[in-house]
């Protein structure tokens, strides 16, 4: 067994590396995703900072500089009826714009500013594509949740959530982690994955940029060290121009909103028997919390109805309150395997070298658990 990354990379170069595929996943991003663009300068110039920008009809954040804008995956057009026509359909949002762009399509850019001596134009209306913009960078503040809730509905009415449509009285359950295929469940203490780790991202090459938002280094853990709640997360970054619509897909959650599904694969170098043992974790050994999205989740309660294994979830049925409940994934197993195969092929032909993290993610006991919003703010609501 190789002991260092250098040895592994030399073997890859020599075509001798053994590449297994169990460590990859298509991340499911009801998480936090978006992309920033430098649009290039118009003639005469315009400063969009402080002004307004619509890309494909979807508002982008312009408060950065003159022509740098950030488009969030959950943004929707200003004229979208939202949930006023309940439940809203959210057919087109920021995630769909990103999918259109990586599919090579042009989208409309309609923007305005106030005009200044150095940036005299006050509006532009044109079309842009990934060929016309300068930089196009996917930057997701939170993806790849290490474990996550199983959502159910104990109430008497249908509810619409980012975990899908949940029928009343525990008629269905949804989950989104890929269990034994999920990268961070194969590295439960984030020892091999860190800032700078090179990854498969959206069909191209990306990097772990930072710990993801809401990172919790100290969740409850099973005897095997694997978190039994949502825990570590990754912020990831990569060149959008390399990516494709097969692994960046706009999603529409009825009654909830639009978002982006992001395909992510993280290679884990097997440097020791301990690392190997941790990557061999199976669905039966990973437990997820079942949470009521009709009460506990919206009210930020802490009740966990039950813990179920990913093996049970994959079987298509779990038992809650003595009732057999059908389960649905939300995270594409077929695409996850496609990512695994693609990344394996890249590594085998030497196109993708493994990297050591340049900085670690928060470790267990580092004392940075996520905090709720201050109670004073929460109580100020009408």
């Amino acid at each position: 067994m190789a002991k260092t990354l250098d040895q592994i990379n030399r073997r890859i170069a020599a075509g001798e590396a053994v590449v297994l595929t169990a460590e990859e996943v298509i991340g499911y991003a009801a998480c936090s995703s978006g992309a920033y663009f430098n649009l290039g300068h118009s003639k005469p110039r315009i400063k969009l900072g402080g002004g307004s920008v619509l890309i494909g009809g979807v508002p982008a954040y312009a408060g950065l500089a003159a022509v740098d804008v950030f488009l969030g995956a959950t943004a929707v057009p200003p004229n979208d009826p939202g949930n006023r026509l309940h439940p809203g359909e959210y057919r087109y949002g920021g995630g769909h714009v990103i999918e259109d762009l990586v599919a090579g399509r042009e989208v409309r850019l309609a923007a305005s500013g106030w005009g200044s001596d150095c940036y005299p134009s006050r509006s532009v209306d044109t079309r842009i594509s990934l060929r016309t913009v300068n930089e196009a960078v996917l930057f997701n503040p939170r993806n790849c949740y290490q474990n996550y809730n199983v959502a159910v509905n104990r109430s008497d009415r249908v509810i619409h959530t980012y975990m899908g449509v949940l029928r009343p009285r525990l008629a269905n359950a949804t989950y989104c982690s890929a269990g034994q295929l999920s990268p961070l469940l194969n590295d439960p203490y984030c020892e091999m994955i860190g800032v700078g780790t090179r990854i498969f991202l959206g069909g191209g090459v990306g990097y772990v940029a930072w710990p993801g938002t809401q990172f919790d280094p100290d969740p409850p853990r099973g005897a095997n060290g694997v978190p039994t709640r949502g825990a570590a997360t990754l912020a990831v970054i990569g060149d959008l121009k390399q990516m494709g619509p097969r692994f960046l897909c706009g999603m529409s959650f009825t009654g909830y909103g639009a978002t982006l599904a992001v395909g992510i694969g993280v290679p884990i170098p097997i440097l020791s028997e301990q690392v190997l043992r941790r990557t061999l974790v199976t669905d039966a050994e990973i437990l997820a919390p079942v949470v009521d999205y009709s009460g506990t989740y919206p009210e930020r309660g802490s009740e966990v109805i039950a813990e179920v294994s990913y093996a049970e979830l994959r079987s298509g049925r779990i038992t809650i309150d003595g009732k057999r409940v059908p389960t649905a994934p939300l995270s594409s197993l077929a695409r996850a395997r496609e990512i695994a195969q693609t990344l394996k092929e890249w590594i085998r032909r030497g196109a993708f070298e493994l990297t050591a993290p340049v900085a670690g993610l928060p470790s267990a006991g580092s004392g940075v658990p996520p905090k709720p919003m201050s109670e004073a703010m929460a109580e100020a609501r009408p």
């Binding site: 359909e89 899908g164 269905n172 649905a328 077929a334």
Partner: protein, 135 residues
């Protein structure tokens, strides 16, 4: 003996006639009304399952056409846009007719619309908006 599902459109002039009853009595077809609505303009739409001999079914459909009721076979009513589907599986456990199933080997989600009752619940459950209904 075959079973087929149809969407029937009843113009206002026919909506109050006992068309389905005659299908059973005169053409020997078993029927199962899966859904039926009449709008305020007296226009009716019915989702109907018919079971019988192939010839009886053909005669029944000819009778419907003569009566002014259009009938289109249902398995072409709900379709999946394969290019949009990402096999996420959000539809699993959602369809009352169990038209969706995860294929263990490939992880892909199979869609069999032969059992579909066109309830439309998959349209709201699918986050890719890959399910389409033509009525």
């Amino acid at each position: 003996m075959i079973s087929r599902r149809f969407i029937l459109h009843f113009p206002a002039a026919v909506a109050d006639r006992p068309v389905v009853g005659r299908l059973a009595r005169e053409h020997g077809l078993d029927f199962n009304i899966l859904r039926a609505t009449i709008d305020p303009g007296n226009y009716g739409i019915m989702l109907l399952e018919l079971t019988g001999e192939r010839e009886a079914l053909a005669r029944g459909l000819a009778f419907l056409a003569d009566a002014g009721v259009s009938a289109s076979q249902l398995d072409r009513q709900i379709q999946r846009d394969q290019d949009r589907c990402v096999d996420c599986g959000a539809c699993l456990g959602f369809c009352p007719a169990r038209c969706f199933a995860a294929e263990a080997a490939s992880g892909r989600i199979a869609f069999d619309n032969g059992r579909c009752t066109a309830c439309g619940q998959c349209l709201t459950a699918c986050p890719r908006r890959a399910m389409e209904m033509a009525l």
